[in-house]
Amino acid sequence: MSATVILLQVLRIAVPYLFAAAGGVLSERAGIIALTLEGYLIAGGFGAAVATHYTQSPWVGLVAAVALGTVVALLHAMATIRYRADQVVTAVALNLLMAGGGAFFLRLMFDSSANSPRIPAIGDGLGSGVMGTLGQPLLWLAFLALPGVWWLLDRTAFGLRARACGEHPQAATSLGVSVPRIRLTAVLLSGAITALGGAYLAFDQHKFTDGMTAGRGFIALAAVIFGRWEAPRALVACLLFAAAETLQIRLQGSTLLPSQFVEMIPYALTIVALAGFVGRSAAPAALGRVEA
């Protein structure tokens, strides 16, 4: 039974990573660095909590999460694609904007800068235990996100164009493919998908909390890189990192291994991967480049 409990915990922890990594793969393969995943997660969590609070319908909350994530992605796309701003700088600013904005509007709306009121969540009636986890539709959606992105990139005309934009945008342009439009679509989808992960976090805690995402967007980016920008490998990486986090939670208070060291695992693995087997060649060739 304990093994099942631990396994379910791994699956639950993996949900935001899976959504964010799916958004990350999509954005990066089209050539836009996915340092904004953290901001999209915050947008999703905040949108879900606020809309659910006012309508008492978590499904409306879910739609609002996706909408807000898309809006933030639109800001990123406008700055980096239309105005050719540096992708890293813009991402740093957007993450700061979402972190500050979340707390600011919490206080404006609920007069508390720490958290929102309690909200109902999707899957509330399922109770705890195995059904509470496996009956959660967002969990299933999360596990479909990366395969979905894989299908989109590898099997559709849009995906072919997106990959061309990430590798050799001039080639795409010379064939009449609009690189800005393809990248815009990829970034918007990335924001929408990642925001689902933020919504899940809010529903899981039944509220939005300042600092709730706690760097999960960066862990998801680590999973993307560790997975060599390929969706199936990124899925494995997400599960690996979720397992590490479960281990960390289980180890808390034990003297066996300080939890901080387990916390480092995803980050350390990514650095090792970048120095070792991933290298420069695996990244999309035009990633982060400003196009004329």
Partner: protein, 352 residues
Amino acid sequence: MSDRATRWDEALLPPAIALAIAMVVGDVLILAFGQAPGHVFGMLLEGTWGNAYGFGQTLYKATTLICTGLAVAIPLRAGLFNIGAESQLAAGGFAAGVAGILLPAWLPWPIGALVCVLAAAVGGGAIGAVPGALKARFGASEVIVTIMLNFIVLAFLNWIVAAKLHAPDSLHTVEIASGAVPRFADVSSAFRGSAANLTLALALSLAAACWWYLFRTRGGYELRAVGLQPGAAENGGVVLGRTWFRALVLGGALAGVGGVNYVLGYKHYYEEGFGAGTGYMGIAVALVGRNHPAGIILASLLFATLSQGGLAVNAIVPKQMMEILQAVVILAVAVSVPEVQRLLRASTKAAA
């Protein structure tokens, strides 16, 4: 002549536009809280430049920002993005704190402070060396490595303080025995209570030294050439990997020295999480300051004013408003720099 004028336009216009946009966004946010923008901005100015305490706090915050801004700017001049100033700052502060604890209490403060500052530089530089070495040896993206390293280093420092070095019932180390840097309040009573200290002089001299290094020495000549045109630099006998390594170590050391401001100048101990985003803000400072030491000093004052001003108005408007405004400034500058360049060049072209 006209060339010079154009460059001034290019440097000053984006921040001016950014500030104007930030003011408008600020107005809207303040109105959303049912407050009068004029009143709030007045409070902000009064709380930062209007009295000695507020001014001291602003200078104190600017001090760290100058260091982290330089820490981003120097590698950026070599074409590298250092997002690791946050952990380099923490590592520098930690090293300074540990050095201060280990030094005997009878040591005169200038000697103690010197040792601690060097320790801070070494601590920060060591963290910068990791992405530097990985970039030079394997071509690993310094953006990703520095971000990941932030989490690793901060987790490690948390553990070492929590498990080994903390003072009883606290999350900070014991007080340093020697190396404390005098506060301005020691000299002038007007600064009483503010944290501004002599580290500001150190930061300003570092900015001057960085300017000299970048624009007057062979090392700076080579470093900038690598950032502008790596192929030509290589053909000119510059070893790229070595220059990347040097730039990131230098950046790390500069951020590390920023830790001195808090640890030696203010609290006299290392505390978990004292950086609180100052490292990331260094990116904004370098961007708005256009990677130029003089610009970085000005940009540091701007962001320090926003940050201290947030505290001054927190009673009526949440201080997070300032985070929003900082983000707006960064975004607006990032967007307007290429745009202003394009427009100005187009207009000079038309005039020619």
